[in-house]
């Protein structure tokens, strides 16, 4: 049999089915049985991610139509999302472009259903980043770090650093960013510990260390948050350097700043979240 043609991800109140690979007849039967099983056993809407398909074979369409009708009878909804132009043209050609409820993306689909989880910049969201910061500096740089009081960042607040790593926090239902920003002296001590040799100036050989630390902190926090259903996607960090530069978050939501004291000196972490 060819590669699996769909991936099922069950969530509270809804199930996401991602179509991908070869939508052949054999997989169609398995698909219908799987969705029937979910519909019969859980009070869940079904959201089909069509991002990876440019067409849907007729036997699959018949299966999806039947599932759609069955869900309707039970007061549940089937929605398609990430329907690309090629697939939409195909639906039009087949005269079924108004048969399905179609959403732009998962966030829109969940919002329509009143299921979009509202994420807040609370301790559940912030603490994994602080724990990860402590852990990453301890393991990778033999540096003990202790967070100070968390404060909400006001528009007038300006926290400057000399080297910063920034990474976007992207999910289907919210966006955000995390920044770790070091004064030069702290960064040089941390990097010297990480690399096992002393560095006295910031140069191209070590500057991406800020990005790597950000990446590790993000990765550790992502594991914890995704276990709670946040659905944060993989991202690649960037580095900003310059004496006393001021970082500005990419998103417009609330921001918190957490100052850290460490055996290498002070630094701060800024976290932003926007629904």
């Amino acid at each position: 049999m060819s590669k699996t043609a769909f991936i099922v991800e069950k969530n509270e109140g809804y199930t996401v089915v991602r179509l991908e690979g070869e939508l052949d007849f054999t997989h169609c039967k398995i698909f219908e049985e799987a969705i029937d099983g979910i519909s019969n056993n859980a009070n869940a809407h079904v959201l089909i991610n069509c991002e990876s398909v440019g067409t849907i074979p007729k036997d699959w369409l018949r299966g999806i139509l039947r599932i759609n009708l069955n869900l309707k009878k039970d007061g549940k909804v089937l929605k398609l999302f990430h329907v690309n132009p090629a697939l939409m043209n195909y639906f039009k050609k087949e005269g079924i472009d108004t048969t399905f409820k179609i959403a732009k993306d998962l966030r829109d689909a969940l919002t329509d259903l009143g299921l979009a989880p509202k994420r807040t910049l609370d301790t559940e969201f912030i603490n994994p980043f602080l724990t990860a910061t402590i852990h990453v500096l301890k393991v990778q740089a033999e540096t003990d770090a202790k967070p100070g009081p968390i404060s909400v960042k006001k528009a007038s607040d300006q926290h400057s650093g000399d080297v910063s790593g920034i990474i976007g926090i992207i999910s289907e239902t919210f966006n955000g960013s995390v920044v770790i920003s070091f004064p030069e002296a702290t960064f040089l001590k941390v990097i010297s510990k990480m690399l096992g040799e002393e560095y006295t100036k910031i140069d191209k050989d070590i500057i991406d260390g800020a990005g790597e630390l950000t990446n590790m902190i993000f990765g550790q926090a992502k594991i914890v948050l995704n276990e709670k259903g946040y659905g944060i996607k993989t991202a690649i960090p960037s580095v900003v350097s310059g004496k006393n530069h001021i970082m500005s978050a990419m998103t417009k939501g609330p921001k918190v700043v957490v100052p850290f004291e460490s055996s290498a000196g002070n630094f701060f972490v800024e976290i932003c979240l926007s629904n």
């Binding site: 393991v139 050989d205 990446n215 992502k222």
Partner: protein, 133 residues
């Protein structure tokens, strides 16, 4: 454990991380270590060199470590090369995907010298069993 004369390829888009892995390998006695910045450069180097061990980051621009692993496993000359993936993201589905693609060990960042050494030993045992050596 791998012979310290083994030719090792370290792949990471971050220079700092390449330095960290290379330093640990040198501390462990390895002497023949090459570096590549992404999966594409790594692929080109593996075509030219005879590497006995690959340690690659996963999350890289252009060609990821997983793409590189899949190319290595699909190549008849390289398919049995011991391969460790290094990543900051060790979610269950990612580990499963790496195992399915034929990774020998999975190293989660941050890591210490001891933990990388332990992963190398474990990968060596797995490869030895696989190769019947």
């Amino acid at each position: 454990m791998f012979d310290v004369k083994t030719k090792v390829l370290v792949v990471d888009d971050m220079l700092t991380m390449r330095k960290i892995v290379t330093k640990i390998l040198k501390d462990l006695g390895f002497t023949d270590i090459s570096e590549a910045q992404d999966g594409q450069e790594a692929w080109e180097k593996t075509q030219a060199g005879n590497f006995g061990l690959i340690i690659s980051d996963w999350n890289m621009p252009n060609s990821t470590g997983l793409d590189f692993l899949k190319r290595v496993r699909a190549d008849s000359k390289l398919s049995k090369t011991p391969f460790l993936l290094v990543t900051a993201e060790a979610e269950g589905h990612q580990v499963a995907e790496a195992i399915k693609s034929g990774v020998d060990q999975y190293v989660v960042k941050p890591f210490s010298k001891d933990s990388l050494q332990s992963k190398l030993e474990s990968a060596y045992k797995k490869c030895s069993a696989r190769l019947g050596t």
